[in-house]
């Protein structure tokens, strides 16, 4: 949203100067969408959990960290659970050590009484802790050393998702923080983390496991012939497929985990309910690109279907321009206009004054001969020429920006047309990566300001 009326509504005034080319104006001003009020969400004491989800590469982790920092600096006691932060970001928050417990982040502005804690998820460690907490030491040792368990805890495609949700449940149960901000794993699809707890839960107390666990018991019952046949056929097939050793390992593992199954199922259900609870807010994170927004739309629909409370969409890396009144087409036309004389120079040996009714300092202009010998280089020999080239370059840069901006706008409009009910917070694109608290604070400001360009006082331009 460009809220500067001066820059959005004076485009028509340009017309007398040039051939009239229909202006795109500032597209953002034309399409109001409902605005996500980030600060009221973060300040509301009833908000206890914020889940940031979305496809890979859209800035989920950075958004989660920035929200956590902002909430803490606004006086809340916050813990941020990140999954796989960039190394430098993790270092700057002091959470590059994997010990699976939240660490207090130093260097935040805490005059409001807030605290920021952060941790990076250690998936295997989290799984091990569940086992240790729910089985007697002997049984726990048997599970932990089982090759099937080792593989499951480190490798199963849903384990990371499950453990992230498990850790969320643990942090919530400790009740030490006002607000928990969670990043979600870079899943194959954004939906995986919703499915994982259920899937693991249903697997661990599913039919298959029961069959594998107690074939004798099942087989011994009358009226269970079908199951018996199915079971022996299946264990036979699995045995053939996987090799006898693996099957034995699975059976050992399953037997050892026996006591924990009820626990797993209960926990998966509890986590799921926690996500549906009123204190939870989901933020779908996306970038203004087709694929990312398609995933976002998908996610919005899925959250609705699961009764998960969606707070809104965070749209990262949105571009804007302080000169949005100048369209790409007009900028390019003007750039061509400026560059034309150079060709004239080289062909006819004339200084390019044709399109320069107001050269900025004609007394400094070199003679036409010098201009020719100097070609197009950027020395002081022909400042007019150089300045016109530079101006043309600035205009081409602007044209590129306007095209990008327009494309982003179109992509976003497609999303809002499908989901007009979803509140949006736009975050302006930064030229570089964010890897310190200052950068996160800046992102937080942009999230709350809900427009790509910050007010002048935030501007770093000298």
């Amino acid at each position: 949203m460009n809220s500067d009326p001066a820059s959005t509504h004076d485009d028509t005034a340009c017309a007398p100067d040039a051939a009239h080319i229909p202006d795109m104006g500032s597209p953002r001003a034309l399409n109001p969408v409902s605005v996500l009020e980030v600060d009221s969400l973060l300040d509301d004491p009833k908000t206890r959990i914020v889940v940031c989800c979305g496809s890979g590469g859209v800035g989920k982790t950075t958004t989660a960290a920035a929200l956590g920092l902002r909430a803490a600096e606004r006086g809340r006691k916050v813990v941020v659970l990140t999954i796989d932060p960039a190394r430098r970001l993790a270092q700057s928050m002091g959470i590059d050590v994997l010990d699976n417990t939240p660490r207090r982040v130093k260097g935040i502005e805490d005059s409001g009484g807030g605290e920021l804690h952060a941790m990076m998820l250690d998936m295997k460690r989290t799984f091990d802790e569940i086992v240790e907490a729910h089985a007697d030491p002997e049984r726990a040792a048997a599970i932990l050393s089982n090759p099937f368990y080792q593989s499951l805890s480190a490798g199963f495609a849903g384990t990371q998702e499950y453990m992230a949700m498990e850790k969320l449940g643990q942090l919530r149960a400790r009740d030490e923080w006002d607000l928990i901000v969670v990043d979600t794993p870079p899943s194959r699809s954004a939906l995986d983390f919703l499915d994982a707890p259920k899937r693991l839960g249903s697997f661990l107390d599913g039919k298959l496991i029961r069959v594998l666990m107690a074939p004798a018991k099942v087989g011994g019952r009358a009226g269970m012939k079908f199951l018996n046949v199915g079971m022996s056929m299946m264990t036979g097939a699995l045995g053939k497929l996987l090799g006898g050793q693996l099957l034995k390992d699975v059976q050992t593992f399953v037997a050892a985990m026996d006591t924990m199954f009820g626990g797993f199922r209960t926990r998966a259900d509890a986590t799921y309910k926690l996500l549906q609870a009123p204190g939870t807010a989901f933020l779908v994170v996306a970038a203004p690109e087709r694929d990312a927004l398609r995933e976002a739309a998908y996610f919005v629909e899925r959250l609705a279907a699961e009764d998960m409370p969606l707070a809104g969409l965070v749209l990262n890396r949105v571009h804007d321009s302080g000169a949005a009144q100048l369209s790409a087409e007009r900028a390019l036309a003007a750039a061509e206009n400026l560059e034309e004389p150079r060709i004239v120079d080289q062909e006819r040996g004339k200084a390019g004054l044709r399109n320069s009714p107001d050269p900025y300092d004609s007394s400094d202009s070199p003679s036409p001969e010098e201009a020719v010998s100097d070609g197009g280089s950027l020395t002081a020999a022909n400042p007019d020429r150089n300045i016109e080239q530079l101006t043309a370059g600035l205009l081409r840069l602007h044209a590129e920006r306007m095209r990008l901006l327009f494309r982003e706008q179109r992509t976003r409009d497609r999303f809002t047309a499908l989901h007009p009910e979803v509140a949006v917070a736009e975050v302006g694109a930064l030229p570089g990566d964010v890897h310190d608290l200052t950068g996160l604070r800046n992102i937080g400001d942009r999230l709350a300001a809900n427009r790509p360009e910050l007010p002048e006082e935030y501007d770093t331009h000298a």
Partner: protein
């Protein structure tokens, strides 16, 4: 030239697009490539603007010059049933297995089994020959999982081989691994000229090398054009604002006086130039990091009009011109 071309990259770098462009680029005259999807996202169908791909190889494009591109979205469950059918003639028993949850178990929970099925299917396509003894596909291009998971995905056969010490899965895993670790395979990584994707690329290469998987090329995607060079950017900082205002005014963009339309463009345009300069410097730094990796480096332009089918052909032509096929 490796016949199995695996394309990975950090999320958001456009690896599916690059994989598709590569499949088109490799399908030179008379050649046939198979583009394989393993994550069930139907990204290929979206790119080629066709309906969702079934678990079946079908022709989706004719490449410039007449080669053909086939596509296949591998579904692990169907691949497993296929496999059981092929080796055990299970028939209806397959459905019973599915009912019991065994297929779900095997394809989602059993460590690595899913990945063996996916890579196994791709390797089968690589090795498949027609009756005349010619390879069914000249190249197989795989749109693989992202960099963070690709080593585990490709190497998981080792893991399975360790778990299933004997039996057909073990044998299958060994066979697949032989293809994946041979010069028949090349793993390419797609990146952007940004810090995190470049870092992830460097890490990914170390992981692949540690697992003895053959690393191919680095493809930098969405490279923005150079609009202003270093000298121009320095000049932009030195030049008086009024001069630019007059120049803009001269180009027909309004008055150059203070408050004039052209004058009011100067600050925003210079701010954009500053942002560009910052990005330009970062990109140069990241390009330096990538060059130090010592791998063949390719760059694909950012398409100004966004990604569509025409853009895909453009990228394929670009890859051919850069000698990738």
């Amino acid at each position: 030239m490796s016949r199995l071309q695996v394309v990975s990259g950090k999320g958001g770098t456009g690896k599916t697009t690059v994989a598709a462009a590569l499949a088109l680029a490799l399908a030179t005259e008379g050649k046939r490539t198979l583009l394989v999807e393993v994550e069930g996202r139907q990204g290929i169908a979206q790119l080629f603007e066709t309906e969702a791909l079934p678990y079946e190889e079908r022709k989706i494009a004719v490449a410039p010059g007449g080669g053909e591109v086939y596509a296949l979205a591998i579904d692990p469950e169907l691949a497993l049933l296929d496999y059981l059918q092929m080796f055990y003639k299970l028939g209806g028993a397959g459905r019973a297995l599915k009912k019991l949850g065994a297929i779900d178990f095997a394809t989602t929970i059993a460590p690595g089994l899913r990945d063996v099925l996916l890579t196994g299917k791709a390797c089968e396509a690589v090795r498949r020959k027609d009756r005349s003894g010619r390879f069914a596909y000249d190249y197989v291009v795989m749109d693989a999982p992202p960099t963070g998971r690709v080593t585990r995905f490709l190497n998981v056969n080792d893991e399975v081989a360790g778990l299933a010490k004997i039996g057909p899965i073990h044998n299958q895993a060994q066979a697949v691994m032989r293809v994946l670790k041979s010069p028949e395979t090349a793993v390419h990584l797609v990146t952007l000229l940004e810090e995190m994707p470049v870092q992830e690329t460097a890490d990914g290469i170390s992981e692949l090398r540690a697992a003895k998987l053959p690393v191919g090329r680095v493809i930098v995607n969405m490279v923005r054009p150079t609009v202003l060079d270093q000298a121009e950017l320095e000049f932009a900082r030195a030049v008086p604002r009024a001069a630019i205002a007059r120049s803009l005014s001269g180009a027909g963009l309004g008055g150059a006086r203070r408050g004039g339309l052209a004058e009011r463009l100067v600050d925003p345009l210079l701010r954009q130039a500053d942002e560009y300069a910052e990005r330009f410097a970062l990109e140069r730094e990241q390009r330096g990091v990538l060059t130090e990796l010592g791998l063949p480096l390719h760059e694909l332009p950012l398409l100004a009009e966004g990604m569509d089918l025409a853009g895909l052909y453009e990228l394929a032509t670009e890859l051919r011109q850069q000698g990738i096929s």
